[in-house]
Amino acid sequence: MWQTSQTINFAQGEFVMLPAFFILIGTGTFGLPFWLAAILGGVATLVLLGLAFKKMMVDPMIRHGVLPLVVATIGLAILMKEAVREFYGADAWPFPALWATTDVTVFGAVFAIQSLLILAVCIVVVGALQFFLAGTLTGRCMQATAQNPAVARLLGIRVERMILYTFLINGALVWIAALLVTPIYLAKFSNGEILGLYAFIAAIIGGFNQVRGAVLGGLLLGVIDNFCAVYISSSYRMAIPLLILIVVILVRPQGLLGRVEERTV
């Protein structure tokens, strides 16, 4: 989103929280089977968090600059969180796992099937996204839009449409993330806080303008966070990622895999 539309979305954590409640409304309120509720939840996510978000918030705000949009997405995050709390309650809710919650033992080490499949889905999704961006015409048009919207427009690329695709892809990604994460975290209105914070830190560490960077940042953060909790102290687990963030900003501001972006002033 940053690459194509210069959008920083501080409601991204809430974007992952909300699809789970779309699905719970489907199963709980309308009594739909989970698979159907999940599909309809996905459609609702694409429409509301993809299309409507772009049309109703990003388009009117972005012409005023990045900062007003940042503030607006912070407001949107609060609105989404409080709306879920108001309409669905402050409790956590169980959310069905996509796979059996059993585990396998390999050479004495226990692996949860759920964790392995989440990792596998992430690899497939990121790989597919990379292929789409680099290996298809639409993907390359989106990259061209990201690099220079004015030149892309001159070359006949429908810049607005490319930006819309980005928001729809973002909608699909948060829906997948919700399906993967919510069975572990449980569905709760406040889930977006921690998810959004970690996602943001991971993106900066890895490189804000690279998908691979965000993935690397996420993996790095998760591993360091858990190692700290096990071998140092769980009380400091939040502090260590922030320390890494400060070091990265000081030493390599573009992130581990990020590109240096230069601007003529």
């Binding site: 709390r85 309650g89 402050a90 409790d91 956590a92 809710w93 169980p94 919650t101 585990d103 033992t105 226990v110 949860a112 759920q114 964790s115 572990i184 975290y185 449980l186 709760k188 406040s190 889930n191 921690i194 966070d225 858990n226 190692f227 700290c228 909790a229 096990v230 769980s234 009380s235 687990r237």
Partner: protein, 373 residues
């Protein structure tokens, strides 16, 4: 003159005809599941009492104040509640919020039924404070005996939540385990609202203890149990009321099966009055209550009993005085559900239960007598 007085009474009928009571508790925030249950228990009791004509023939006027599980907000909300001069205050449920509001309630001299279970709450010198469930100093020795006698564990891996409730519970547990020569193999502190327990469960696993003691709030208990199942940690898992609560069982799903422990209050207790309460609650609120629902409900009936049967008038000071050393039986007040006593500092005493979770249901294995018997 008589006509004038009668007219004035008629005009101000609502003020004279209603008794203000307040619930100041955790309706939102991290402890919302517990505070919400407590609140609904209070609401159900108030509705029942009002449907039968009220207390001292006056309706109860209940106002709800949300602490948002935030000590700063709790203090402001308690002050707001006290400004409306309620007869009795119910809540908070979070021990930390009980502590930060303690001085306000004490100065206002308003009787208060708290849901907090931290051991030190009743030792902080508020003569108007009364528990609705056991303090940890009552519950922990019972659990420790269970660990020693039934599970026969020689070592324990403890995971606990680092707030007032968890810290006080941990300290009490360590004391009683030491007295029983049970070794602490791991001491894992976690944060309130924590969602990822992978690293903590790794620590528990590497401790190789005879049993795992889980002491946290309901949502965190459920997440710990889910993670433990994911990592193949077999337990046995022991805990107190929160680990075996309905909310934890619902959230943890099959991961809760096999959990054992002590519960001070449970809607699954083999007592007809408690089961009938559970059915009424479920009919009214469409969910099964946990121990906090029982705490809120019985607290309102304790207020009614003392006010009507012991005092016959609204007198806060006399109320608090009467509560100390009082025992209420279901024969005298059916809404109390089980015989309940309060001692000179407001600590509660009633029967309790050893329970286990099997097939997603809490089952009572044993009824433990009152300490005072």
């Amino acid at each position: 003159m008589r006509l004038l007085i009668a007219a004035l009474l008629l005009i101000s009928g609502s003020a004279f005809g209603q008794i203000k009571v307040a619930y100041v508790g955790e309706i939102s925030g991290q402890l919302a599941p517990s505070g919400g249950n407590f609140r609904d228990g209070v609401i159900l009791a108030v509705e029942e009492i009002n449907a039968r004509g009220g207390m001292l023939k006056q309706k109860l006027d209940l106002t709800l104040y949300d602490t948002q599980t935030n000590p700063g907000v709790a203090r402001a909300q308690m002050q707001k509640a006290l400004d409306s001069e309620p007869y009795v205050i119910f809540g908070p449920v979070l021990s930390g919020n009980v502590k930060v509001t303690l001085e306000l309630v004490k100065q206002a001299e308003v009787p208060q039924f708290i849901g907090g279970e931290a051991a030190d709450l009743v030792t902080l010198g508020n003569p108007y404070m009364f528990r609705t469930s056991f303090g940890q100093q009552i519950g922990m020795p019972k659990i420790a005996n269970y660990i020693r006698d039934e599970i026969k564990a020689k070592s324990i891996a403890l995971i606990w939540v680092n707030n007032d409730f968890g810290k006080a519970g941990r300290d009490q547990l360590l004391r009683v385990l030491k007295e029983r020569n049970i070794r602490l193999a791991a001491d894992v502190s976690t944060e309130p609202g924590q969602v990822d327990f992978a690293a903590d469960v790794v620590k528990l696993k590497s401790a190789n203890a005879d049993a795992v003691f889980v002491y946290s709030n309901e949502e965190e208990c459920a997440r710990i149990m889910r993670e433990a199942r994911k990592q193949g940690l077999k337990g046995p898992f022991v805990g107190d009321t929160t680990l075996l609560s309905q909310k934890t069982i619902e959230l943890a799903a099959e991961a809760a099966n096999g959990v054992v422990g002590h519960v001070g209050l449970t809607v699954d207790a083999p007592i007809p009055e408690v089961k009938a309460f559970g059915e009424r609650f479920q009919k009214r609120f469409k969910y099964k209550p946990d121990h906090n629902g029982l705490k809120g409900y019985t607290a309102v009936y304790a207020m009614k009993y003392v006010t009507e049967k012991k005092l016959g008038k609204l007198d806060r000071k006399a109320f608090a005085k009467t509560m100390h050393g009082l025992t209420i039986s279901p024969k005298e007040e059916p809404g109390i559900l089980m015989e309940t006593s309060w001692n000179e500092v407001g600590e509660i005493d009633r029967i309790s239960f050893l329970a286990e979770v099997a097939n997603g249901q809490q089952r009572i294995a044993k009824v433990l007598p009152k300490l005072g018997k």
